[in-house]
Symmetry: C2
Subunit: 340 residues, 2 copies
DNA sequence: CTGAAAGCGCTTACAG
DNA sequence: CTGAAAGCGCTTACAG
């Protein structure tokens, strides 16, 4: 199939003037007479002319497009963050291209290659859990394509970062369980290489320490960010000689796994085992019992990351200092942890 | 920030040959000597040269990119379908751009404008429930940008379509409820303008008819495709003097609403009310009780739509005839409808 | 086998 | 106020 489009040349031909004049008239240059301007604009309208953005990209080496890479768009946290990115990008005249890494380093690399070669103007990314090496992002930045991290950030690279106060969120969740009378609080954490796993683990440990509960090595298990992972680790925890009386899950998928495992094993929540997760609300309220959770301002994270990125894109030089924004999470208490 | 890239010109300069020769060598033209070719390829490698796809797009009026518009990427059905589209597109050397309409005609129009102006090569789309008018898609097709519909298709436009056998799915679900002894089977349907709403409604009616159950106007309610919609309509159904003993929900969101409303109102599933929905499996098995559902081959739908689209893009002319592919759905029976 | 030239659709100094 | 020319990075007939 063939595409035909109206060009500036065609307008010039029909009006018997030069392409330069048409171009100037269309961008409302002050050096063109009102009369010519009007003729050009009218004809452009009539012919349904739209400038070819590809030609402009070639000229300016800019595409007015930003990329977003997330592990998985089906995850509500990320789809909502993408909503926030789109919101800001749209209002500032940019388009958003969405990529999924599926937690694979190779897919992430392929996306950055596409971004570089298609001259995407910048990138917002939540790093794949598999990516211990992040040279591909550093290389993008060296090529002059700014990168802003959100949610999953990395210390290995200097750039703007937007994350949630994972430490605080985990601390609050753990302390809440302690105040509800739980004594043996287990934690199913995310994959070790991920930065947020560390922050959350610290928050958990510090809450225990504050309340004089001794930390037990065997109460912390690492898991993939999947429901199956949560289920398996729950089996392992409940098989312990000293069973936990509470489990704190590090992500919504993991928490779904904890929940279904506990139900399947015949435990009652919260009386046998209290549960708190890092979840999205819509999800947690559907379960029976509804799950208490640390909720994150995902939409706002997307907005902030996008706006930091656009500032970078539109400024001439690298900023003197990169910024890390830490947003607050919110503990929502539901039946799964409401012990009497 | 400034981007610098190696061009063909730079390679030509360093090697003291012409741009034309470099270009030919890189595309392995048979008219270039092996020796020159090797020199060019080696230097390109060394300089880390990548051709500028924007320049090629300008030349060919092709971008090797297809668009996908879905109502909502957070919906598992759509995110999985997008996975199928990406799968095929990737293997055939295309990139995928994802747009969300959020069920708004205006957002859908804005996406098609972007697609046209950025010279995206083609579009796969599930129409927004709000879009009774689909001129924006027709206009894309007239501009030579082929459009393939999936899931939400329209009779108002002639093009390839991929949908699920909604009639059969609804028929099977309803017949299953009848065989389990349900006599008063309600149906919470989707928005009226959507094609699949009609197909599913027909399947439901025909199953009743086949088994000699008289169709009751008040047993069918239309709802938005949201959980809140399902909840509201369930209140309305259960408030009827003659309560239904089964509810068949037209989408996963609606079915989640039915489920939570019934539980909240104190009904037991399946004994008081049996429930079947059009759902995604991962979702339905998390609920208590797990929900029986008509599952759809979403990934495969995406694959088929993408491959029909790429065929259109790569063929010179419009095909003599457009094709509608109808895939089979699958009824998975769970506790919510297992009456004794 | 290689190069000079034209052209994809646009913008923008440079002349007039 | 308007136009001719150069150029963004590439490809490809046309010459030689």
């Amino acid at each position: 199939m063939k595409k035909v489009s109206i060009t500036i040349k065609e307008i010039a031909r029909q009006l018997g003037i030069s392409k330069s004049t048409v171009s100037r008239a269309l961008r409302d240059s002050s050096e063109i007479s009102e009369e010519t301007k009007q003729k050009v604009i009218d004809l452009a309208e009539e012919l349904n002319y739209y400038p070819n953005p590809i030609a402009i990209s070639l000229l300016k080496n800019r595409t007015q497009t930003i990329g977003v890479i997330v592990p998985d768009i089906a995850n509500r946290f990320y789809s909502s963050a993408i909503g926030g990115v789109e919101d800001i990008a749209y209002s500032r005249g940019y388009h958003t291209m969405i990529y999924q890494s599926h937690e694979l380093l190779e897919r992430e690399r392929s996306a950055t290659r596409h971004i570089a070669s298609r001259r995407v103007d910048g990138l917002v990314v939540a790093i794949s859990s598999q990516s211990e090496n992040i040279d591909h992002f550093a290389s993008l930045q060296e090529q002059g394509i700014p990168v802003v991290f959100f949610d999953r950030v990395s210390d290995a690279m200097n750039s703007h970062k937007v994350r949630v106060d994972d430490y605080r969120g985990a601390f609050d969740a753990t302390e809440h369980l302690i105040k509800r009378g739980c004594k043996r609080i287990a934690h199913i954490a995310g994959p070790k290489p991920v930065s947020i796993t560390r922050f959350r683990l610290e928050g958990y440990k510090d809450a225990l320490r504050k309340h004089g509960i001794e930390f037990q090595e065997e109460w912390v298990l690492h898991s993939e960010i999947t429901q199956a992972g949560g289920t398996e680790r729950t089996y392992q925890l409940m098989a312990l000689r000293e069973r936990p009386d509470a489990i704190f899950g590090a992500s919504d998928r993991i928490t779904m796994g904890i929940h279904s495992a506990l139900r399947q094993l015949g435990y009652r929540m919260p009386d046998d085992v209290a549960v708190v997760g890092f979840c999205d609300l819509a999800m947690s309220s559907l379960l029976d019992p509804p799950v208490s959770s640390v909720t994150q301002p995902s939409f706002e994270m997307g907005q902030q990351a996008a706006s930091l990125l656009l500032d970078l894109i539109e400024s001439k030089n690298t900023p003197a200092e990169f910024e890390t924004r830490v947003l607050q999470s919110n503990l929502v208490i539901n039946k799964s942890s409401m012990r009497h």
